[in-house]
Subunit: 361 residues, 4 copies
């Protein structure tokens, strides 16, 4: 249990950092979606290691193969299996981590829970696990675009204390991809990139915030009470490696306002019910209201750093660890496509489920 | 879909604000748990309206009846059904809301999603819906206590900008229940209560933050990758009415630190693996590490306020609404038992599931 | 786990033979369905004890109450909770069964599995448990009728070796309800009723077969590979008390034919694709083809008989049991509405799910 | 939806007859199980085409690759992905079936449901789909053997009207594998093999019955009311290609008996509660009682035959089809490992779930 996600648009991911490969099975994808490996590769390339100077230099081309579910360029309605082979595995870098728990990493808890773990490259707790998510998310994005022109855009909103100024209403994919940080504020991006490079040189790491805006959202997605849209999004985001917090719309800052200040008044734009402000973040009562969905995810500084740290060995002795290997000094640029993918998975699942709701009137 | 929660310890809640009643069916509760209505009533009383001067004055005794699943004082392993009748319903207070959408409430989205809604008292979007959750949570708490002496404590940590000083390591249930706000900092509580009363007089509302600490947590709970413990907790909390944000451990604040500053170093306390700090909030790699679980939930100011607001009618005309009825000027004191209940549901579900993991070695 | 059923049209049943009551929560019922207690009562009356001379004489009016999910006569899309109180409970009849396991009943396995059981009236293993199923099934039937004029008809096809001659293509509800056995072959029914009465006088019991035909089935229901329509129906039927076998279309008899003899050739009836024979029972490749769905369920003779039987006591000693209490000498007449209900639950669930499949082309 | 199975021991199968490959992801497999590809290959070899003169001659080695979830020869508790490449695909054999629906096959219903299908080799409706099931079942078998020495044995019990005489209590795997039919009655097997070869020469096909006996079953498996053990088994078996019926224990034949004749009296064998007869088939009240589980599955004669048949084209015209390609004249010998696999999946899932039930007493 744990590697299956979704109720109608269901995914099952698999794979560890080292081993035969990683991937995903997508069940419940509607038939008739044009789909090729290139549709998926574009997001895998945004996620892959070695893509820039501020991410891990591990060399993985992350080429995906569609094993099933597509025929003559279209989905069949049968499960789509996607496979990415592992290539540039260097187990020897992890020898010390085989015997010593990295602080704030998953090493110790995996050992405690399972009594066994693949210590090579972090095993299942490696960011490579997200390949299956990003691949499935690419399919979900395509469906959402096809049915409602829905657009899912995430970007780096803050690195440590360097906060970008971003116009949520107009930010574009091109602006996001304009720099290797995926932060559409060029000035802040430049400064943050410099700080990340500095952190890397010091064997240290940085954290920050990814923001996501979703446009052209169909009204009515989300299912009270336990499957409210923000609940599903929160679960999805908090399942990403290194995430520590989630907020939607006004979030934590909104709690400083009174109800009078906070409420989003309704008005009409032609026939369409709109809100003048969007502190709700596009979701009211757990259901999308058609305004942009806006949420933020906090990512901690990468746990694996290259400075010596006090820790305990698997054998049960206090010791010091100086991690080796190739690690991200900041997860944010690669977290961007992960956030988009998980958001797309949630929305696609809710969109499909919503088809079952209004069959009578 | 939407009203079922959990994978092994499963609950199905039902009920609207007005109508025959509200309640829950709990399936998967282990046999041999001593259980009486009084076990459940204690938390329902902490949740119920009319309990103090700073919550809604609606008079509901919220007496629960166990309909099934218990025999001679013990659970049978069969589904436990719990029913609470609705009593003090005043539909007439909601006549205007039948025709006008309350800003930032669920009225408009329910109408859009379902094409029909019970406008009386908010229908399914009413806080009464949480009765079933709190009742089920009381059972989950009892199981957790019995198997691991686990203790789930939530409290009001901030009202608007009034932040309590609380020692997470030592705070007690008695301190929490010492005032009607459920804020264990007496001075801040007194000030906040005055502000809430002031907001009520003005027909306004306030928000804030509830913090939750869980002690004596078994190591190993939580299931990578999608059912990480923090993901399940986030989903649970973000499914509560009025919640806008969730963070675990260091949360959003932790993103201002470097990895060097943020990591929780390991040490040994006798045979037990401990961390010197707890920025992880008791969860690493999605799995509990035995340290206290600590998280926070942001609750917005109550949407239903008694001041006139611009809005749109169901008939599709811009209009003004001046809500009536009995509402909470601040949801926080009643949110405390809801947060505890949802946390207990998640942990109990994960605890039971964990029994399936280590059957071989 | 175990008391939840369905993926989109989800039900959670609860209740034991003795205790506060039995019932069901239905989640995922579409809004806008006209629904009143009378819609449900009609099937509960067909299921209830005391309805005729050949069923258990326990007196239960089985009046159901809708607790939630319906507003001004229509479903809301929120969970529908239905409650039936237990009335005519006679615990004293079961005192001996508290200490001795009834052969071929659930007493011993419940004791082994749970270490505790409600021995009064069979507890959760009582046929009263099916009240929630029949109530939910009545809602499912109404939806199916509304969306596709689908008609679900079950009837007694055989009692022991008395086999009815029934024209599957024309049998009507009125014919089925024309006698207390619910067997639309009057002559066989009369004979079988006499045999059942004889069995009752002897403290013995009889079994047989219920057949079910479903007409006006939408094409396309059922989801390969694990949720094939016949698989879901089989699971549903084999979950009914006393069922021992399931077959669809040609069933076991069809295995005596060659492929040449067995295949259903296609032809066109206007634009509609039809089959000349229906050995497929309306399902091909796990998916409904629009022909009548036809299946049969074997029900064993009731386990609780009033003749002395060798058995073992809870305390672990060989002994003799002479059961008391009020029992069905033959479950078939009351199984008829149960079969219809479970079939309706399966079809409704698949119908709703099918809405998610063809959203793109 | 449709390709996921199980609640704790969960599998997701994928793949069509032609295309990149077929396989399965297994989630919830406990850690510490020794596992190698050879463990799985043994059952894949029993399932594969070309293994004997009475199955399809398609040449597939069906070599499986473990992609994830195993480390240094042991399972990790993470998802196990298994892949088998398709090799001997001859699309040209299926050109006619691309345009004409095979009678009693899945062609027409897939077309109706999805509006698209992979007509090559039957696509997802091909028996190749069961490779993932058999692979996952091999793992489940190994777990069951390790935790309880449980043994799952299936065999051909009848081909058309040729019924084998088999001693359920003593039949062995070696006896089953002693002939290419997998029928442990040598005389009947020889006769049946001759009839199958005759049917093949005629372009015809035969059906029959597979029986399964499961020994050393832990007491307490199965979860009333909807997840009764026989319900889960029935669903599993009726999800297999070509299955038309399921019965457990006395099955349909048992309905000819009275309760007095049918009941299984209890006695003590030392401390162990036993039944003198086993008409219950090892399951009472939906829960295993420790006696051998015995059930039978009816398989129809293969739908694809090589004689001309009347049918309808995809374009909507009545026509005649003379199928080509390589097909099984009788599915039974290859159905044997499929039945075992599905039974093992059900039992393993229930065994793991059962660990959550008795945590308190």
């Amino acid at each position: 249990m744990g590697s299956f996600f979704g109720q109608v648009f269901r995914v099952a991911t698999f794979g560890e950092s080292h081993g035969g490969g990683v991937g995903v099975v997508v069940d419940g994808c509607p038939p008739h979606l044009p789909l090729a490996e290139t549709d998926i590769q574009v997001d895998l390339d945004r996620r892959r290691p070695g893509q820039s100077a501020i991410v891990t230099p591990r060399q993985e081309s992350d080429r995906c193969e569609i094993l099933s579910g597509v025929f003559e360029g279209k989905t069949l309605g049968t499960p789509i299996a996607l496979l990415v082979r592992n290539q540039d595995a260097r187990s020897q870098d992890y020898q010390e981590m085989a015997t010593k728990f990295r602080p704030s990493h998953a090493d110790a808890t995996y050992q405690a829970k399972y009594g066994i773990r693949n210590w090579q490259g972090g095993g299942r707790a490696s960011a490579r696990e997200t390949i299956g998510r990003v691949a499935a998310g690419a399919i979900a994005k395509k469906i959402l675009h096809q049915v409602a022109h829905t657009e899912v855009l995430a970007y780096v909103q803050r690195v440590r204390n360097l906060e970008a100024q971003i116009d949520i209403g107009t930010v574009t994919a091109a602006q996001i991809e304009a720099n290797i940080l995926r932060c559409p504020d060029a000035a802040v991006a430049a400064q943050a990139i410099a700080e990340i490079e500095q952190a890397r040189r010091e064997g240290n790491s940085l954290g920050g915030v990814v923001e996501c805006v979703i446009r052209s959202v169909p009204v009515g997605l989300g299912d009270p009470v336990f499957e409210k849209l923000e609940a599903e999004l929160a679960r999805a985001m908090m399942s990403l490696p290194a995430s520590k917090g989630f907020e939607v719309g006004s979030g934590f800052a909104g709690t400083y306002l009174t109800g009078r200040e906070h409420n989003d008044e309704f008005y009409l734009e032609g026939d369409r019910l709109r809100t003048r402000t969007n502190r709700s973040g596009g979701i009211q009562g757990g259901i999308s209201n058609g305004e942009d969905i806006v949420f933020r995810v906090a990512f901690k500084p990468t746990a694996t750093i290259l400075q010596p740290q006090n820790t305990v060995s698997v054998a049960g002795e206090e010791t010091t660890l100086r991690a080796r290997g190739r690690h991200d000094p900041c997860v944010l640029p690669r977290a961007v496509p992960m956030v988009e993918a998980m958001a797309a998975l949630v929305l696609c699942d809710r969109y499909l489920y919503q088809q079952t709701v209004r069959v009578l009137g």
